[in-house]
């Protein structure tokens, strides 16, 4: 501590310059990322006519929630479709997330705790998948899905998203289990727990932040995915949101406010998820970094 205080006056000045440069840079970056979202929100409150005006209205003269009520109203065709896409997306993403966690938790635990033949090879094989861009697997996976008879089913998407999401999930969670001292489980086993009980009562609660972070990753990955959903599904009633939203482009010219309202609604679950579980997420990222 004493050394740090002694150093302070010397190192303060140059750091300040950098700090301001950093702040300006971050502000620009923030504007760059937030502006489109704000514009999306503003546009979604306009009427179709107001959205097309030039010069643009910075704030709609007659703001309306009509676009939202139309999307959420199951009695008209637009609302019906939107809600169906929304539901499809929710179903596919949730299923992917649950399966990813159910598989990744024991897999990551095994990679972290047990020494078995082929452990290293297997672990790298798991990661190998993530070294290639997703598009490369589009055609092979499509052929595979056709062969499995899964084209035009949500199963094809869940399966595909798992092939992307699982390696990352296993890898993330393994880091967590590596950081939980093995002595805790040993203590639990001596205290009368079976291996499974030691895992459930001691290890699981400690790895909850990691599991939640991993779940959020999986969910967002599946929720936003476009190319595979676009390729594997052709039937309207099965489409997920990222693909389904496209339909706003084609119908009687582009309905910008409707599109923006739909996009906004699409980001709601992710934002809500993040806000609710944020504290676990941050804890997860920082805890993984510090060894205890």
């Amino acid at each position: 501590m004493t050394i740090a205080t002694a150093d302070h006056p010397v190192s303060r000045r140059p750091i300040d310059g950098w700090r301001w440069a950093g702040r300006i840079f971050l502000t620009l970056l923030l504007i760059f990322t937030v502006m489109p979202m704000i514009w999306m929100l503003i546009t979604s409150l306009k009427t179709g006519f107001a959205a097309m005006q030039y010069p643009p209205q910075w704030w709609p003269t007659e703001p309306t929630l009509g676009n939202y009520t139309r999307l959420l109203d199951p009695t008209n065709s637009v609302g019906q479709e939107f809600l169906r896409y929304f539901w499809n997306s929710l179903w596919v993403s949730t299923l992917t997330t649950i399966l990813a966690i159910v598989v990744a938790v024991p897999a990551a635990y095994a990679f972290s705790r047990f020494r078995f033949p082929g452990r290293t090879v297997l672990f790298f094989a798991v990661l190998l998948r993530n070294m290639f861009p997703a598009v490369i697997f589009l055609v092979p996976l499509f052929i595979l899905m056709r062969w499995l008879g899964l084209v035009n089913t949500h199963g094809s998407l869940v399966l595909t998203y798992l092939t992307f999401g699982l390696p990352l999930a296993i890898w993330l969670l393994k880091g967590f289990y590596d950081n939980i001292p093995i002595q805790l489980e040993q203590a639990a086993r001596i205290d009368g727990a079976t291996r499974l009980q030691a895992f459930l009562f001691i290890v699981m609660p400690l790895s909850t932040p990691g599991i939640i972070a991993t779940a959020i990753y999986s969910f967002i990955g599946a929720w936003n995915e476009y190319i595979y959903a676009y390729t594997f599904l052709t039937r309207h009633d099965q489409m997920t949101l990222p693909v389904g939203i496209q339909r706003f482009f084609s119908e009687n010219a582009t309905d910008w406010p409707g599109l923006m309202a739909a996009t906004f609604m699409m980001s709601v679950p992710v934002v809500v998820l993040f806000l609710v579980l944020q504290k676990y997420f941050v804890r997860a990222l920082t805890e993984g970094a510090v060894k205890h």
Partner: protein, 365 residues
């Protein structure tokens, strides 16, 4: 309470034998210290007794049950870990209650036992805290408490005091000793601090490189170390070891130094030399058995003062004899200066002779 029997216990990781053919018996109610340098297999041995690792060979009996294939939970043991291993997300109360809950005791009985253990260890005021809100000494007590809430047959402790500062360590040392006395518990206690072992244990098992070198009372290990490793490991300052050549003529024998002096040996020591096959000998002597003289007396050998360390009530000095450093202790009134020529007298009854090739202690035939 129960006895523990290890028979030819082995544990290897590939070609590395972490525990190599260890056999020993811990009697009911005995306090046994497992000592040895870092990496010698102490923790591994303890984990094998606990059943946390599968054995590569051998048998372990606890009480009158062969426990080779029993889960840790079925061995009726309690363990205190090197780093305490308290459950970080549970309060102290829940840490103590966990072993009882796992054994499905009724709630009011759990409550009673937890409070009793807490009172015994003086941690009642900490019950609602989380482990990270405790000091090292408090964590240590909680770890001890978690072990003793359920009266197991055997206590296993892995360097429970190694994370504490010197003062607290001395205090906890006597508390554990009293705890052993009160409960008459069977305890296997791992430490790499030989002083802890000597002061606390009924018996000590000295290990090195996975092998059990000697298993005896601290007094016997101190008095009759089986080889040079045990000799220099037990006792502080360490026993001095001087490599010399043995010369025999008839039934008499002496140790000869290339520096040109001869140390005649007593008849018993001469018989030890006679029974050995080699003439390369290591002479061992503890500081307290050596006498320092300023001028030559019969049976003394010349040396040169290297360093002098006064500690107040006793002065330690290191003397160069035949190229080896020899520790001695003298009265503080004796004044020594570095490079001074002195003469060291050996106590023939309390000196140790080792075979320089096998490092084993020589026995009289």
């Amino acid at each position: 309470m129960a006895e523990i029997v290890l028979q030819h216990v082995m544990k290897n990781y590939g070609s590395l034998y972490a525990v190599n053919d260890v056999s020993l018996t811990v009697n009911d109610g005995e306090f046994v210290a497992l000592v040895g340098p870092s990496g010698c297999g102490k923790t591994t041995t303890l984990n094998l007794i606990a059943g946390l690792l599968p054995m590569s060979g051998g048998d372990i009996v606890i009480g009158d049950r062969l426990v080779n294939d029993l889960d840790p939970k079925d061995r009726d043991i309690a363990m205190v870990f090197q780093n305490y291993a308290l459950y970080p997300n549970k309060s102290v109360y829940k840490n103590l209650a966990f072993p009882l809950q796992m054994r499905k005791l009724p709630a009011e009985q759990i409550d009673r036992k937890v409070k009793e253990a807490a009172r015994l260890l003086d941690i009642t005021h900490l019950l609602e805290r989380k482990p990270r809100e405790l000091s090292g000494g408090q964590q240590q007590r909680v770890a001890l408490g978690r072990a003793l809430v359920r009266d197991p047959a055997v206590f296993l402790m892995d360097e429970p005091l190694s994370n504490l500062d010197a003062k607290l360590r001395v205090q906890m040392r006597s508390e554990i000793k009293r705890f052993h006395h009160n409960l008459n518990a069977t305890i296997v206690y791992v430490t790499h601090d030989q002083l802890e072992a000597v002061t606390m244990a009924d018996k000590m098992a000295v290990m090195n490189g996975g092998l059990l070198l000697q298993y005896d009372t601290p007094a016997n290990v101190f008095a009759n170390p089986v080889n040079t490793f045990v000799a220099s490991f037990v006792g502080s300052p360490a026993m001095s070891l001087i490599p010399l050549d043995a010369v025999t003529h008839g039934t008499e024998a002496s140790l000869r130094s290339p520096e040109g002096w001869d140390l005649p040996l007593s008849p018993l020591n001469a018989r030890k030399i006679a029974s050995s096959s080699t003439s390369k000998i290591i002479l061992g002597a503890r500081h307290s058995t050596l006498k320092l003289h300023k001028s030559e007396v019969p049976g003394s050998v010349p040396g040169k003062v290297y360093t002098v360390e006064p500690t107040g009530d006793i002065t330690f000095a290191q003397i160069f004899i035949n190229g080896a450093v020899v520790n001695i202790s003298v009265e503080p009134s004796v004044l020594l200066t570095p490079d001074e020529q002195v003469f060291i007298e050996f106590d023939q009854d309390r000196m140790h002779l080792f075979d320089a090739e096998t490092t084993m202690a020589l026995q009289a035939a």
